[in-house]
Amino acid sequence: MRYLWQMLAALAVLAALSGGAVVTLGLYNVSARVGHLPGVSWVLHTAFRNSVRLRAERPPQLPDLNDPALIELGARHYDWACRACHAAPGVAQSPTMAAMVPPPPHIETAVQGWQPHHLHWITANGIKMTGMPQWPAARDDEVWPVVAFLTAVQDGMTGAAYAALTRLPDGPAPQAYCRGCHTPALGTHVPPLAGQGAAYLRMSLRAYLDGSRASGIMAQAVSRPSPAELDALATWFAQQPAPTHAPPPTPAPLIAQGRALAHAATADPDVPACAACHGPNASESAAETPTLVGLPPAYIRQQLLLWRDGARGGGSRAHLMRVAAQNLSDADITALTAYYTTLETNGTGPENE
């Protein structure tokens, strides 16, 4: 018995020593060329697939993944964030990326066998020890456009279709990249920039850059121009004429309810008068306060939800807006969205009739 114990102790010491030697003397060969021992790759990959199936939760309601604007937004993000590793429909993978261990599968293969909520989970969480990155902001709502794109790839997107989706508009370089997304065509999901003041745009771009405003899509986008170019972009966009927009059809009583809330003309004292900061007649407000005129409904609604949950950051005045939104009910958000999306321009619109 005693002999057995001595044996075990000796073995333990030996194991610790050899483990230490592998780490400190560099005995383990980390070369990707050597690859894994037989079977290890299979074990890792199988563990990954089962882990995703166990953890990904199907949401009660999926967004409309066939929405062409959602697919295009996802494709444009993919093009700058994921393409380097996974290539694109109809395009061969770069030999360097294909030589990773494990290799990132070509996107046409990567999407096979997964359901939308699986793809959402993978894109949001990333995969440990493979080089597949997690979403660079703590926000799951913005992952859906990418999922919409990935399901379109599952449905057999062609190379030509991909090229058309991600083509940049004509015009000078850094602006063209931004205008790819910030265009009326994607207007339901992406806010227009023309119409905002330069100070607000500049502040927002800095907030995306330093992470104080969370958005995986915009964090990736602002990494493309240089910081100096960003300030110039803010000035350029602020000078563009605000796009004319057709207000979506909205029931009049809902607009009236939103207008009353925005002007603190209701019996409910919990909602601050949005109009005091955002206008209409916002000309006297701080330059870093955005106008809400011309913002798409889905965007306003999503931003208000983020503000209420404390998940929307921004510049030095962001805490004002966080406090202003903290007591909004879902019904308030619906009514306020209806009011602000039907305002034509600052100072005009239904409230002056």
């Binding site: 925005a262 002007h263 603190a264 003309a265 004002l320």
Partner: protein
């Protein structure tokens, strides 16, 4: 206080007792400085309650002396066995008849003063709503069609009984001015009422007396009883629109007020017709904030410095307060704002 508790282990029990009772006495006495004390009544209702307290206390002392006297008598003075007749009599008289009469009398006395506590007002009605963590106050003079709005301060005409209607925003609070009367709970969506009758002009303090969240302890208010004529003048001044200061700092301050969206939550009633600002109601009405006696519901004074401190550090002063801290403002903007608000008299 922490210092003395830390040393407690090393001192003899008798001294410890002495110390802790001294501490308790100091705490108790600090409640009697008159501004917020039931023992220094300034109103008819508080006087009745005070009388009730003193009568009860006197009765309790007499009873205590009687019981302990008897106890002393049978254990120390006359240790011989009592006669059966005497003992039976003692039980029936001292144990049944005496308490019944005493309790009955106290009950009758107590019930007799109840109607006073519920007496209707003489004309003026106040409507007070408990918010987290401040007081919305409306004055409804007899026959008024619209209220005169103020906050965090209760002013009453002396020598009259005023009606007070109580309500609450989101959670239960309790309205209590110890020097003027009893306390009354305030419930969201259900009105309760009370009336108060300050006897002479005076200045007291009220406090929320029902736990209502993080800043409950910082939810107080100033109470001022004024001679009826003075009160009428004061009320007329409150009813008037704001008279913003005309000095350059005050004018700049008004611009900062607009620029920073203070109006989203606060109303400053402008002159008739020139009132383009929305009338925010999330926070206290500021039309005459410069004439008030405290800021932040009895938390700070009203010097220029207090205004600046409040605006820039709300959350640090009152935990979870629903006003954002304007710590991004420059020192110049802050001092202009303070000048403007202080000038709103």
């Amino acid at each position: 206080m922490t210092g003395s508790t830390a040393r407690v282990d090393h001192i003899a029990p008798s001294r410890r007792l002495l110390r802790s009772s001294a501490l308790l006495a100091t705490l108790a006495l600090s409640g009697c400085d008159g501004r917020q004390s039931v023992l220094a009544p300034g109103g008819a209702d508080a006087r009745v309650l005070g009388d009730l307290f003193w009568v009860m206390l006197g009765g309790a002392i007499i009873l205590w002396l009687l019981v302990n006297g008897l106890f002393f008598y049978v254990t120390r003075i006359n240790r011989a066995a009592l006669s059966r007749r005497f003992a039976n009599g003692l039980i029936i008289v001292g144990g049944v008849i005496f308490p019944t009469v005493i309790l009955g009398a106290l009950l009758a006395y107590g019930l007799s003063i109840m109607p006073d506590q519920r007496a209707p007002g003489d004309g003026l009605t106040l409507r007070v709503t408990g918010e987290q963590w401040w007081w919305r106050v409306e004055y409804w003079p007899e026959g008024a069609e619209a209220p005169i709005i103020s906050a965090n301060e209760i002013r009453l005409p002396a020598g009259q009984r005023s009606e007070i209607i109580l309500d609450a925003g989101r959670v239960i609070h309790s309205f209590w001015i110890p020097a003027l009367g009893g306390k009354m709970d305030m419930f969201p969506g259900r009105e309760t009422r009370m009336s108060l009758h300050p006897e002479a002009p005076g200045h007291w303090r009220g406090q929320c007396a029902e736990f209502c969240g993080a800043s409950h302890a910082l939810m107080a208010f100033e109470v001022v009883a004024m001679a009826p004529d003075d009160f009428a003048l004061w009320l007329a001044a409150q009813e008037a629109p704001a008279a913003p200061p005309a000095d350059p700092a005050g004018i700049r301050g008004a611009e900062v007020f607009t620029r920073e969206g203070c109006g989203a939550c606060h109303t400053v009633r402008g002159p008739e017709g020139r009132d383009s600002q929305p009338r925010g109601a999330v926070g206290p009405d500021l039309t005459h904030v410069g004439s008030r006696l405290s800021l932040g519901a009895g938390t700070l004074g009203t010097t220029l410095e207090d205004f600046e401190t409040w605006i820039a550090h709300t959350g640090a002063i009152k935990p979870e307060v629903e006003m954002p801290a304007y710590d991004h403002l420059s020192a110049g903007d802050l001092s202009d704002l303070a000048q403007y608000l202080k000038g709103l008299e």
